[in-house]
């Protein structure tokens, strides 16, 4: 027999992940459902008698019948639709202090008539609030085992395993719903079932489950975009709704109302008295945390720390990774050189090429993947801590009004802020946004935020081309120019969100409701699982693309290969040999020019010439696909200085200022500098970002769209600035 499958279902913020984590000993694999962007965890637990059981953690949800992809995944996992196995038991989380909310989902699940074990979690909070529900009474009412738990301390875990085992052995038959829908509604539900495609309507569906699925169809599938791919008989649904309306019935109110009617009739008895609305402790904390002044200061402080961690604290770790890969390269390279030195002719070239592939391509490529890990880990550490404490939702609440200017909800704030450090972790951080449309819109504009890789490019151009002072301008010119680039990036990000949100992702408004969960101490194992999950999915699913792209880019700039003797004039070689200069270094700019990348730079010159760029800048643009700051070292190569050049390298500044066009005018003027900076601010020049976008949007379609719109924007604005500036007489 196959191992039994247990699916964990529950509202958000009910400790579901904590329980799952505890029971599976954190051995879960986090991944996407096939073909979707919804993450889920699969793990294993061991029962005393039955042995190993497969556990699936689906996204937290308030209802099976709503609009999002998350809820669809939850439903399919629960019903065993598509290629997902039918679960043998559901573990349904109930929030002890807030039973009314979690019972709504519980009733929907009971309607499906599948075996269920209820985990009545957060009993400690219920006790602290003096409102403890009676688990035995609840078990009688629901017809299924109810296990009181404090999952974060592992309390009740053994009883839950025992209940699971009993249920798997068939000692607790699948319960039915305690409530009964009115007869007209049942008939409508059965009629609505016919609107579903056959594969979602397994033959021999038991009567009650047929009603449940029919109600789901009536409640969820109207003009639902998340489910637009389902082939539904929409006219049948419209007819059923219209018939109900003509007899004065509103199906949505009836379905939801009849469930809550049962809840309202039973909740007070479960608690042994009516529930209080106030929650003294939580409300008192909120008065400080959400206060206009103290709350604003706290928010600024928290966000400062998060940003500081990404921007500054991650630097030593990133440098450490860089250094260790440099060390590794330094370790391997002499080996290849020694072997190559002992050979001659084609074998020698082959070994040299192989050595370069390993040292610069592969080791560099793996380094290019791993270098993102510190920022991803730090960002997810903070997000998980903020989420676990209840503050993340409040940060969204505080920022909602501000982000509405960009047509985004408050949850977009943390990802957008992170984008100013690096778009890669920031895009991963959009997973905290519940609505797909908002998440996609945030991902579409995130690459426009001024990430730290742009800074070296700006610094180089500003320092080389802008005067420190201009007469009549009171501020330091260079610092002002840098600041202006950040303002520019922010304005463009907001405008892009407004435009894209109103066109490509236009939609009818949806209520932006958000639960502000109770304050809690974050549960460390759950926090760590979140960090580990983010890092491992990045490495596994975006890492390959980044590695491949880095190697391809290296090959582009290194092939075809030329020996220095073929590139340099004989008299130059003679002079170099006489003075002991490094031939290879002398030949490097020429080798680059004759590489495929150099050829490509020439090829795109007509396209970028109207922006004020020559082919050398073109090569720099191509090189910067690996990461924008690579522009600086590529320019160092182009101008024959060295690869190790920094943006504050004076000799590179000199070279740039000395560069002349065919007509003798300088190539690099302040106007060219602005044009290049604007191009870097707007263009999609980051393969790693594309790799992560592909992973998070489950395909190349959106990354392709984002690349096209960003390059179009970059070219047009740089063109306007350069040509407009020249027409106005600037240079």
């Amino acid at each position: 027999m196959d191992r039994p499958t247990v699916v964990f279902v529950g509202n958000p913020n009910t400790g579901k992940s904590t329980l799952f984590n505890h029971l599976t000993n954190a051995n879960a694999q986090v991944s996407n459902y096939p073909g979707t962007t919804v993450g889920h965890a699969v793990g294993e637990l061991s029962l005393p008698h039955l042995g190993p059981v497969r556990c699936v953690d689906v996204p937290g949800t308030y209802s099976l019948a709503a609009r999002s992809a998350d809820e669809r995944v939850a439903l399919e996992a629960v019903l065993g639709l598509g290629d997902r196995p039918l679960p043998d038991v559901l573990v349904v989380l109930l929030d002890a202090p807030r039973l009314a909310r979690s019972l709504y989902l519980a009733l929907q699940l009971l309607e499906l008539q599948v075996p269920i074990v209820f985990a009545l979690n957060m009993m400690d909070e219920a006790e602290a609030a003096g409102q403890v529900p009676d688990a035995d009474v609840l078990a009688d009412e629901l017809g299924a085992p109810v296990v009181p738990m404090v999952a974060r301390r592992g309390l009740g875990a053994d009883a839950l395993l025992q209940a699971l085992e009993q249920t798997l052995r068939g000692e607790h038959p699948a319960p039915g719903p305690p409530h009964r829908f009115s007869e007209p509604l049942r008939q409508d539900a059965e009629a609505a079932l016919a609107a579903l495609p056959a594969e979602m309507r397994p033959p021999g569906l038991p009567g009650a489950r047929a009603v449940a699925l029919g109600l789901w169809v009536l409640l969820s599938l109207d003009d639902d975009d998340a489910l637009a791919d389902l082939e539904l008989d929409r006219s049948l649904l419209a007819t059923i709704r219209e018939q109900a309306r003509s007899s004065g019935r509103d199906l949505v109110s009836e379905i939801v109302g009849q469930r809550y009617a049962w809840i309202d009739a039973h909740v007070s008895a479960l608690y042994g008295g009516p529930l209080r609305l106030q929650h003294a402790v939580q409300d008192r904390i909120d008065r400080v945390v959400l206060h206009p002044i103290s709350g604003g200061l706290l928010f600024a402080l928290v966000m400062f720390v998060v940003f500081q961690a990404l921007f500054t604290w991650s630097a030593p770790l990133v440098d450490g990774i860089d250094a260790s890969f440099g060390w590794l390269a330094g370790l391997v390279a002499p080996g290849f050189e020694a072997v190559a030195g002992s050979l001659a002719g084609p074998p020698r070239t082959l070994v040299e090429t192989l050595g370069d592939l390993v040292v610069e391509g592969l080791i560099g490529g793996v380094g290019a993947v791993l270098v993102f890990i510190p920022q991803i880990a730090l960002l997810f550490l903070f997000i998980a801590l903020l989420e676990g404490s209840g503050y993340l939702a409040r940060a969204a609440y505080l920022m909602d009004r501000v982000l509405r200017l960009a047509g985004l909800p408050g949850q977009a704030f943390v990802p957008l802020l992170s984008g100013y450090a690096c778009a890669v972790p920031a895009i991963l951080a959009t997973r905290t946004m519940p609505r797909w449309r908002d998440r996609l819109l945030t991902m579409m504009v995130l690459p426009l935020t001024s990430c730290s890789a742009r800074l070296p490019v700006y610094t180089l151009l500003v320092a080389a081309l802008f005067p420190p002072k201009i007469e009549g301008f009171p501020l330091p010119v260079q610092a002002t120019a840098l600041f202006a680039m950040y303002v520019f990036s922010t304005v463009v990000t907001v405008l892009a969100a407004v435009v894209l949100g109103g066109t490509v992702l236009a939609e009818r408004p949806v209520p932006a409701m958000l639960e502000l969960p109770p304050y809690r101490v974050p549960h460390l194992p759950t926090v760590l699982r979140s960090v580990r999950g983010a890092v491992s999915t990045f490495v596994r699913e975006a890492g390959q693309v980044i590695l491949f792209a880095t190697v391809a880019l290296w090959a582009l700039l290194s092939f075809p290969r030329h020996a220095p003797e073929d590139l340099l004039a004989p008299e130059v070689i003679a002079e170099a040999v006489a003075s002991g200069a490094d031939l290879e270094a002398l030949a490097r700019p020429l080798a680059l020019e004759r590489s495929a990348g150099g050829y490509l730079g020439h090829l795109i010159e007509p396209v970028i010439a109207p922006l004020g760029y020559d082919w050398k800048i073109g090569v720099g643009l191509i090189g910067s696909f690996a990461a924008r700051e690579v522009f600086v070292s590529t320019m160092g190569l182009v101008y024959g200085i060295s690869e190790e050049v920094g943006s504050d390298d004076l000799s590179l500044h000199e070279k740039l200022r000395a560069e002349r066009r065919a007509d003798g005018s300088p190539t690099y003027t302040p106007l060219t500098g602005i044009s290049i900076m604007v191009f870097f601010a707007l263009a999609m020049q980051c393969l790693s970002t594309l790799a992560v976008l592909r992973r998070e949007t489950a395909g190349w379609r959106w990354p392709a769209f984002i690349t096209v719109y960003m390059f179009a924007l970059a070219w047009c604005l740089s063109f306007l600035i350069y040509q407009g500036g020249r027409a106005l007489g600037f240079e």
């Binding site: 939801v256 929650h279 604003g296 958000l514």
Partner: protein, 73 residues
């Protein structure tokens, strides 16, 4: 009156949930049904969204959305 007009600390009973489609369904499923008691707790520093306690849960709702819910104070 409507939900957004409640003063902080004021309690009311929901009379009717307006709006259409997904919007209305979402409010209903979160338990904002006719007859439900609601407590207005506060608001974000910029005046919007507003926060309410319903059925033991604290919810943030934009005032434009809240104005579609009719209540009896």
């Amino acid at each position: 009156m409507t939900l957004d007009q409640l003063a902080p600390g004021q309690t009311a009973i929901i009379r009717e949930v307006g709006g259409t489609g997904v919007f209305r369904r979402r409010l209903l499923e979160l338990g904002l049904l006719p007859g439900t008691r609601v407590l207005r707790t506060g608001q974000a520093p910029l005046g919007d969204p507003l926060s309410f306690r319903v059925r033991g849960t604290l919810l943030s709702i934009r005032s434009a959305d809240a104005s579609l819910v009719e209540v009896i104070a």
